[in-house]
């Protein structure tokens, strides 16, 4: 590796800064907007930093402002999102982990074809399936239920989890489980005591991906949910658009509420996430 000169380093930094700014400014704008009064939002030229920061937008969406008759069922949306995302993540990890392990460790018929077909299923844009899904779900009577949405997210997340965990398990030498069996473990114990702890980082990152996919998904959720029974946060965002107006303040406040749990979760497991994404430390 050649050593970078100071001017090169600054060039790289400037480049990174520019790229990050491009990525972050829209998000930052949404966050800032969530804390502004409506006048500032509509001001022209735009006001960058909120001059009168306020929590009114948040109070507003929960219906806590004095002059407001009714808020939105945000708490309910939040709960729906949480239940649907956590359940689909948990189940996807359990099933995906078993699948990934099987692909990494066992030989069986049509293994390669099966693996590729899982991947190919990811190439279909979910929205293309929304109409067929809508019809089937309505026939099954699971339209506008959490269960219906969980099922859809499982279908999206399981192949991806299998693909990720297969890679993680592959990097754990087979010898370790064999050594454990010789040390007296059953196949099952060998998995839980040796292979599982070593794959934990990988599983954590797979879980994050699965959670974020479900948490942020909009296209399918907007078709398959109708009422507060199952509407999720991203779908709820649309409540802020009326026929002729958009309540930008409320929408931004809600967007912040969507971002926070995702951000929190990512921070909580970021150590694992990095270890998981830069796997290969097992040796």
């Amino acid at each position: 590796m050649t050593i970078e000169r100071p001017w090169q380093r600054w060039l790289i930094r400037a480049g990174v800064f520019f790229a990050m700014a491009l990525l972050c400014v829209p998000g930052l704008w949404v966050v800032l907007t969530a804390f502004r009064p409506n006048i500032e939002i509509l001001a022209r030229p735009p006001v960058w930093l909120p001059q009168n920061p306020t929590f009114d937008n948040f109070r507003g969406i929960f219906g806590l402002l004095p002059d407001q008759q009714q808020g939105l069922p945000v708490a309910r949306y939040f709960l729906n999102s949480l239940v649907i995302s956590l359940t689909s993540t948990f189940v996807a990890i359990v099933i995906g982990m078993m699948g990934g392990y099987a692909f990494a460790r066992y030989r069986f018929k049509a293994k390669g074809a099966l693996f590729v077909s899982f991947m190919l299923s990811r190439t279909v844009p979910g929205i293309a399936l929304s109409l067929p899904l809508f019809i089937v779900w309505s026939r099954l009577g699971i339209l506008d239920t959490s269960f219906g949405l969980i099922l859809v997210y499982l279908a999206i997340n399981i192949p991806f989890t299998i693909w990720l965990t297969d890679g993680f398990f592959r990097q754990i030498p087979v010898d370790l489980a064999e050594a454990a069996q010789i040390d007296g473990c059953t196949r099952w114990q060998a998995f839980w005591k040796v292979e599982f702890p070593l794959a934990r980082s990988g599983l954590a990152s797979a879980a994050i991906f699965a959670f974020l996919t479900s948490w942020n998904e909009y296209a399918l959720a907007s078709q398959l949910t109708r009422t507060t029974v199952s509407k999720t946060m991203p779908v709820g965002l649309m409540d802020f658009t009326a026929q002729f107006t958009v309540d930008w303040a409320g929408m931004s406040a809600m967007a912040v509420l969507i971002i926070i749990p995702a951000l929190l979760l990512t921070f909580l497991v970021q150590k694992h996430l990095i270890a998981g994404l830069t796997f290969g430390g097992v040796k």
């Binding site: 030498p173 064999e178 069996q181 010789i182 040390d183 007296g184 473990c185």
Partner: protein, 372 residues
Amino acid sequence: MAQVKLRKISKRYGNLETVHGIDLDIAHNEFVVLVGPSGCGKSTTLRMIAGLEEISGGEIVIGDRVVNALPPRERNISMVFQNYALYPHMTVRENLGFGLKIAGEAPSEIERRVAEASAILGLDPFLDRLPAQLSGGQRQRVAMGRAIVRNPDVFLFDEPLSNLDAKLRGQMRVEIKKLHQRVKTTVVYVTHDQIEAMTLADRIVIMRDGRIEQVGTPQEVFEAPDNLFVAGFIGSPPMNQIDATYRASDGAAVLQDGLAIPLHRSGLVDGQPIVVGFRPDALAPKGHALFADNRRLSFDRTVTLAEPLGTETILFLPLSGKEIQARMLNPRVVAPGETLAFELDLGSVHVFDKASGKRIGGRSWQGLHASN
């Protein structure tokens, strides 16, 4: 008592058979080494004994139980893997104690036995480290420690030294030998290194292409190789092997360049294509070896290369269209191109049938080696 018996053991992967019906009896506390070139089925055989590989045919007996259907944990064996297979997320102490913990031993008992093994292998300073924080030799020791704490009936080793550098390999070889003297147990040890095999084994099993070529003590396989493969595999530098034809009129092997080597063998027919073999030790410049007068053959040859090794020098010389090697003890300086008078010890000449590669004449020549 833990003898190990292999009865017509075979291994098939689909239609491909890689181990072809091996028979082997290993006695209680015996140190047996399976040796052979890479891919000859040593690991597969060992893994079948361990229970890590399904047995396609035949029977394996450990102690007095047929173990074919038993999982590894019920065979009371332990194994040291080529890459050590230490649990990366456990400290050395936990690695050593893992098997005992699984077996449900009391913590005090685990501690006592881990301490014991650690003392034997000199691991005390490393007990709280993770495997990643150890050198290759230390990891190797932990792997052995993990194997001995459980007091198994049989130790299995799969090329345990092949990831170490040459010097460490030599040290660990000695340690393994000492360990076996101390912890008397039946050992099956796999290696492709014939020196390891010779130095460690009570008995050597030489394998090729999923078959056993010869079983014997290190001395037996060295001094009386059953066939050309064993003759070429065991011993370093390898045995010189030269094509010849048997001439009944004077009982000699005639080489392609006309040199006649008198043989003391029966069971040969005139004109039979044979291979004569002799180790570099059996060939030396005049005055550098004491071969008996009545059974030595002298000829002059020009040395093409001299490889000084300190106490000895390996000389390369042409014979019958091949380059062969001679070992000169108490060496003097030899320049390439120098012509020397060589002496061949006829008592150490091996004869093999060219067609089958099998040794001819059994060990009849051993009578000449009375000093052994």
